[in-house]
Symmetry: C2
Subunit: 402 residues, 2 copies
């Protein structure tokens, strides 16, 4: 017989899953209620309303997908991309590749460009590609958690709208942790996840889209066969589970039965959005910047090198170069074993070159920042890395005082 | 500012989501840990191992999909169905329609048959269709929660194996609540959910498949573009999120990064499977039968009519006909308002004709059964239904003594 799971508390400074706010864990212990009971529908409506406030949008269609972040990205992309549709994906890290992969599976005619890891696109570069490829859809990552880079979106949104192009954004690494303005930036569709700056467990995606996408979805609408055996549409989406035309009518006033909403995770997201608004979206964004600035001040004081273009760093996740003669995974393991503290390795080409350090949601706390710097300095010193000791924590504290 | 969600405890006697075992809610309050940490990987491995025991299978590939039950069904069907593949779906209720819909979206050449609601197929009927249609895949529901019927699978499994046909089963309404033998019945792929007899919250699907399906999946394997930009396969599956070739390598020893596993829901499923094995799978199945027998004894003593073919009733969910001159939804609302007790309405053609009553997982308790009968009798009496009073609870108690 297996033992009951018992997980010791850890300080989690990775790009996610981040620590969950204890109030969200408490919310999840609410008992089950039927998914069409008025009390549950009211919570769903509140999730939609609070979701709009966090995303800074008036989009009526702002709701949850019962899956992790990429389920939300796939739901959006496969709703707007039909076979042979032209899709441009500017890639600057792993999650751009993911958008391209999803667009290809949706049978889009996908054009991609690449940038050296650690850099982002200028608006002119994007404009040039758009002008020559004439896409129906541009799909782009806002915060690339594989490189620690953030791509500005304002001019791109403006241009796409002017050109009649749909702009779909992956805001998984930025929502509620970096400035993000769905409507002001003219973003048509956006997907984010539960497990980063919203401080909830992984397993839910928040999506939002405007009337332009709603119109497309209406053209591809298909009622489930068990509810209407005659409903047919040759343009229907490839997935039933991620079909936004059905999910829309489940979250909308039709309340058409689709899946059984993940009750406890809905409670979690309700509380996560509520706590975000209680703190204030802008205040939470400021908190992420403050803590990340302190981390960077500390890392640099330690003589470590932050990876990538300094002008476009993510305020939620930073990549830091592994010093010479030090083994990336040995340091990670020792941080866990000695300090119960997690940081993450790199991905792909950066696999052996950087650690990825996040300060997300409930993990974005001064206590965690100082614990990280103390632990990392101690472990690197033990491994004879070429670092400066005794400066990281004082510099971080100085950063907090500014 | 919205208020924190507070849900009052209810007695839930619907086809799901059922009440969650409090020990599972407690397990979900375990803190977050990184998805590739050895402690978390050990829990994933235990989930696979315990999943096999609950499913009565030796299938190596027995793991979770981060989505509700239908995500598991779609993942399986879209893994084995390629465009123009012949798929036979014998429909006997709403969830058969769902399998057909998913198979059509996977671009299968789908043949369906229908039975009057409340009946199931004889093996001869199935055999005849198979012999004339020659499908590659037969997809069938084991427990049809929309009609309360259970379809025997043994002869069908035997025949499909002999004919080289893949048999995919939706065991959402039966797993751990009715006899179910994955290997002995020669089922190739099976999907079930978290929120019924496993007593966990909705939001996770348990899937299992054998080497025959593994071989097909290997032919459609595609490594994610962000991990291997050169990987390509024209036969790749339509979804990245539900791609079993990628999920297999995330749950397998390759540990290839895919989604961020839904940490708290994984804890829930670990505890749900553990509690199922602690009780004993066969003992849990017996408990469901005992409680359902008591419900049916009580309903019939009340002069209510159980819907459908008596020889093939599900031991987990029963449909009961709404008596004349009584309004289905008024009774449901009064049960909630006066007794904090939920039962469910019918679906589709049975929408106004039956209540669906479930006794699933943690909801399958004597206390709940007696509360249901007491409350239903009281409310029906208030509404002048033609029922017999004073007999339901004594008959249910007599049923327990047998």
């Amino acid at each position: 017989m297996k033992k009951q799971a018992f997980i010791e508390h850890r300080t989690i400074m990775t790009p996610g899953p981040a620590e969950v706010d204890p109030r969200i864990l408490q919310a999840m212990t609410n008992p089950i209620i039927g998914q069409f009971e008025p009390e549950f529908l009211a919570l769903m409506d509140e999730v939609m309303e609070m979701g709009r406030d966090v995303l800074k949008t008036q989009n009526r269609w702002t709701y949850l997908i019962n899956g992790t972040s990429r389920a939300g990205i796939e739901a959006l992309l496969s709703a707007v991309i039909e076979p042979d549709d032209r899709v441009y994906v500017p890639i600057f890290g792993r999650f751009g590749h993911l958008m391209a992969e999803i667009a290809k599976r949706a049978k889009g005619n996908v054009h991609t460009t690449d940038k050296p890891l650690g850099s982002i696109y200028t608006f002119r570069e994007l404009q040039k590609e758009i002008d020559s490829f004439h896409p129906k859809v541009v799909a782009i990552v806002h915060g690339e958690s594989s490189t620690g880079m953030m791509q500005p979106l304002e001019e791109l949104g403006e241009y796409c709208r002017k050109e009649g192009i749909l702009l779909i954004v992956d805001a998984v690494a930025t929502l509620a942790g970096a400035p993000f303005e769905t409507d002001a930036w003219k973003i048509d569709g956006i997907a984010a996840g539960s497990q980063k700056c919203l401080a909830a467990p992984a397993g839910m995606a928040l999506v939002s889209y405007n009337e332009r996408i709603e119109t497309l979805i209406a053209q591809r609408r298909k009622i489930e066969q068990g509810l209407d055996p005659k409903s047919a549409n040759p343009r229907m989406m490839p997935s039933n589970y991620l079909d936004l035309s059905q999910l829309q009518e489940y979250w909308g006033k039709e309340r058409l039965n689709h899946h059984t909403e993940a009750t406890s995770m809905l409670y979690a997201m309700h509380e996560a959005l509520r706590l975000t608004l209680e703190e204030g979206v802008n205040e939470r964004i400021k908190r992420h910047a403050t803590n990340m600035n302190a981390i960077i001040a500390g890392l640099e004081a330690m003589n470590l090198t932050v990876f990538g273009d300094k002008d476009n760093l993510l305020p939620t996740i930073v990549c830091v170069e592994v010093p010479e003669n030090v083994e990336l995974h040995k340091i990670r393991r020792e941080l866990v074993e000695e300090f119960s503290l997690e940081i993450a390795p790199g991905f792909g080409a950066l696999k052996d070159k950087v650690w990825r350090i996040g300060a997300l949601g409930y993990s974005s706390r001064k206590r965690n920042v100082l614990a990280l710097l103390t632990a990392l300095e101690t472990v690197l010193q033990r491994h004879h890395a070429n670092i400066i000791t005794g400066q990281a924590v004082p510099e971080a504290m100085k950063s907090y005082r500014h």
